[in-house]
Amino acid sequence: MKREIVKFLILALLVLVVPLLLKGGYLMNVLVFVGINTMLAVALNLLLGFAGQISLGHAAFFGIGAYCSGILTATFGLNPWHAMAVAACAGTVLAFVVGFPILKLKGHYLAMATLGLGIIVYIVFNEAVNLTGGPSGLSGIPNLSVGKTVFDSDTKNYYLIWGFTLATILLSLNLAHSRIGRALRAIHDSEVAARVMGVNARLLKVRIFALSAFISAVAGSLYAHTMTFLSPASFGFNFSVELVTMVVIGGLGSIYGSLFGAVLLTLLPEMLRTFQDYDIVVYGLILILMTMFMPGGLVRGIPAMIGAVSARRGNGGNEHA
């Protein structure tokens, strides 16, 4: 437990220090989105990694959060913080309502149902032109503010969003180590066994689904107020798949893994920009190679790799001696 606290404090310190090293600039802007993606990946990991329930439509909850917040503030002039609260509720309630029938499904049927949910929500964003602005997008969303401070620069947004991200990580770590976390893992391993042992599997699954949706909707609201513009394309099937990729590449069932996955997959396109037109090919290749050589995800793969390298070094040294 103590080690967990130290790990988290190191992360928090790192988050605090990074902007001082970067001195503004473009990377700050990217890091803002890294924060949002981390929230989403951690949220999805609660569902996918801990409860073992796949969702191919998580961008829907992200989008609902974003559009609720955007519409309420830009069209109806609500205070952004109040809008965020409403947005979070909307995401949670939707997850709760659809959670009961959807989570009854298993395996590929669940994948298909969540995918369908994602597509339906995406189509509504696209078609309800009067409300969402349709494919041309929704603009004029105000920034968040506290007192006189308006979060309108990358640095301010960075601290705001990473505040939320750290809170999400802390909450998830706590959850993972709690009774609920253990019950979730029991469901993951064998739902029937868990049920026999007195875990109300169905309710627990729905609750974790709702929690995951809650975090995603908050992330969506934050996204809306930092971008100040929304268009449906950001909440499609591709983004849902990208989130799953973040979780798996990072390492299923590891909170820090999701952090690594989100950081890597958000920064990767930036690093690949030097390849210009070839970037997409290199991206695909990296995805394949990384999964091939680290099937357990970054969080297990990197220590294993370091271990292997140092072991080889150790052997080499012995031979010389």
Binding site: I54, P101, I102, K104, L105, K106, H108, Y109, A111, M112, A113, L115, G116, L117, I119, I120, I123, V124, N126, E127, S190, V192, A193, F237, N238, V241, V244, T245, V248, I249, L252, D277, Y278, I280, V281, Y283, G284, L285, I286, L287, I288, T291, M292, P295
Partner: protein
């Protein structure tokens, strides 16, 4: 135009898109049964079929039949390479990481196609003319008949292959129980390779026969793959009749939804109905409820 004629047209249109979804869905089901992987690169095989036949036909100037055969062969080669290089080397990977590999593969294939042949959309000539055929006031194109015909042929050949040939039976054995299959001497790895061969060939065939109607470009695989995936799931991931019904159902729902209710929401309508069906029958549409393994 009478309403019943309109509905007939919706049904015909729905069947012809549905047949394609079914054909693509088949590819998903075959690989799934041999490997328990959902192959997200299946849509790219479809795209490759269309793009390669365009390449052989309009750039290399080969006659149509030769172009079709070469396109299928080339796509199959890609399927084999993909299995050999990315799927086979992994021994203890979870199904989910294999799925991520297929996602990476689809991005890679799409990216390479874009670099080699550019981003333009291309049209392919119809196989046999483009004069519409009248059926009771509704019309279809000769190409639609090709689609129906080839889909039926492929399904029948599949059925025969899986039911009567030794390899086909061996593949079915792998689908039922991999360990038991390998214990009785079936080379499971070869069966996995076969499943990639069959489904990439089938996918490319689907891509070729629809290209004259829908045109082709490096990025058509995503949407078609998604629809095929849905068809396969509705059909319970069986490589038989279920997937065909799944595809046709999806196609008809879309077409009726667009014609009778709202074209903007047509995909949403189709998915809402599919979700409701799943909620009522959580074990899938065309599968008998089987007992759960604990």
């Amino acid at each position: 135009m009478e309403l019943h004629q309109q509905i007939l047209q919706y049904l015909l249109s729905g069947f012809s898109t549905g047949a394609i979804y079914a054909l693509i869905g088949f590819g998903f089901a075959i690989i799934y049964n041999a490997t328990t992987i959902i192959n997200f690169a299946q849509g790219e095989f479809v795209m490759l079929g269309g793009m390669l036949s365009y390449f052989f036909l309009s750039v290399v100037h080969l006659p149509l039949p030769a172009a079709v055969v070469l396109a299928v062969l080339a796509t199959t080669a890609v399927g084999i390479a993909f299995e050999r290089l990315a799927i086979r080397p992994l021994k203890n990977a979870t199904p989910l990481s294999l799925v991520i590999i297929t996602i990476g593969g689809s991005i890679l294939i799409r990216g390479l196609t874009m670099l080699i042949w550019g981003k333009d959309t291309h049209a392919l000539p119809s196989f046999s003319g483009s004069e519409p055929i009248d059926i009771g006031g509704a019309t279809i194109l000769p190409q639609n008949l090709w689609i129906f015909g080839i889909t039926i042929v492929i399904i029948v050949v599949n059925k025969l292959f899986f039911n009567y040939s030794i390899t086909g039976k061996a593949m079915r054995a792998c689908a039922t129980n991999r360990r038991a299959a390998s214990l009785v001497g079936i080379d499971v790895r070869r069966m996995v390779l076969f499943s990639f061969v069959i489904s990439s060939a089938m996918g490319s065939m689907a891509g070729i026969i629809i290209a004259p109607l829908t045109m082709t470009a490096y990025d058509v695989g995503i949407m078609l793959g998604l629809k095929g995936f849905c068809a396969a799931i509705i059909g319970g991931l069986s490589s038989g009749f279920g997937t065909v019904l799944g595809g046709l159902l999806l196609g008809v729902l879309e077409s009726l939804g667009a014609g009778l209710i709202s074209s903007g929401y047509k995909d949403a309508i189709a998915f809402v109905i599919l979700l409701l069906i799943l909620f009522i029958r959580p074990q899938g549409l065309f599968k008998k409820a089987d007992s759960e393994r604990v």
